[in-house]
């Protein structure tokens, strides 16, 4: 079992993903929105029915599938039709999660294209389609990982006091589970940290007009409005699946 999947390391992994996500946003924000990226058929027949972003994401996942990325319980593909791993399977013997197939990537992609890109990118088109789509893929994959880490977070919370959870699970009480997993102080701290890190990481870039489009406020909004709610949805869904 890998250190990354041990419950003791969940917090560290979440902190590390903040860097990846903040930098991913800064990277993407240097390009315009470039709407054609997200429109199937915008680049002719060569990409089939897929948008350019989906095409790149799909190709990336095909590659990653071959090196067994999606056999790890902390990775979730956006596409279902991926090739089998070329490498022999790793044993995730001590996978702390209960078996589940929760995957909210469709929703994540929608929120990404419809909300996040318009928030962090200037409107318009700069023809930087390849570079923008590469940045999209990296950022989407990081956000997907962060959101689906809810499974590990939920398992941690469950193990720290199973009794209250067991009752809510038996009663299939999603509202109660939502209340149990909600820790306002912790959420406040995450938002503050994300905001501070963004201020720090963009300070050197202040001289760059195009790159200053990710502000501390926007980064913390991405967390408060999308990443954290989607993460909590997954926590509740995971707990409902958990046999009490």
């Amino acid at each position: 079992m890998t250190a990354q999947l041990q419950l003791a390391n969940v917090r560290n992994e979440l902190i590390r993903l903040e860097e990846t996500i903040i930098f991913g946003m800064i990277e993407r924000s240097q390009f315009r929105r470039n709407d054609p990226l997200y429109k199937p058929g915008a680049f002719g027949d060569a990409l089939g029915e897929e948008s350019l972003m989906d095409f790149l994401l799909h190709e990336s996942e095909r590659t990653y599938a071959k090196v067994r990325r999606y056999t790890s319980p902390d990775e979730h593909p956006f596409f279902a039709d991926l090739p089998a791993p070329l490498l022999p399977s790793l044993q995730y013997e001590n996978n702390p999660l209960v078996p589940n197939t929760i995957n909210h990537n469709e929703r994540i992609r929608q929120v990404y294209v419809e909300e996040l890109v318009p928030l962090i990118c200037l409107p318009g088109d700069d023809m930087q389609y390849g570079s923008s789509a590469v940045a999209d893929v990296l950022l989407l994959q990081a956000i997907s990982k962060r959101v689906h880490y809810g499974k590990f977070v939920a398992e941690c919370k469950y193990r720290s006091g199973p009794a209250a959870f067991d009752e809510a699970i038996r009663q299939h009480d999603a509202g109660r589970l939502f209340a149990l997993i909600t820790l306002p102080d912790v959420e406040e701290k995450v938002l503050e940290r994300v905001s501070n890190k963004t201020r720090l990481y963009t300070s050197e870039l202040d001289a760059l007009p195009d790159a200053a489009f990710v502000t501390p406020e926007k980064a913390s909004r991405v967390y408060s409005d999308w990443i954290m709610p989607l993460n909590k949805e997954i926590q509740v869904e995971y707990l409902l699946l958990r046999r009490a």
Copy 2:
């Protein structure tokens, strides 16, 4: 022509790449050296003659080639046998560079595997082959971009005072060109900035034993010992090609 390729934006682009490289190193350093990644055949026949890292790098470049990444004068592939772009060619009408085929990626890959990975990763094997190789590919591509930006840097320096360069170019005097492009004050500032940024970006990670393996000293050594000398080599080579 894209803003990224305008000479006025070269400095900004170099600064932005520092973030990508520092974060790439932090990301890679969370995993062990994982030497089998770099050994052809270490994972059986499935990857052909390629090492796992090369396999992933090759696949990544095949994908990127399809979205015409390598038609841009600031991108350089590691592999020559890439598919043709699926997208129609972009016009790089105002490409400021003279035509050239300078590509030092073979050397960059060698330095990366033999020097950089041992510097920033703890020895040993943690079986995190897929994740490590993904981090390798992203970091290698960022370093390659940074090093090959030497072409743009050289062009800037040339245009700021062509007379001295023209004479050295006519005489094919690489030593003189090297002296002309060397700006010790600027280099000192870059190293200081890289060191400061690394201190900043790892401060939140101090609690993480595995992730603290990229120190400000190591990051600035990566720049002073490898990135900057390779970049300067390319500057000289580019200028020698430049018709005086």
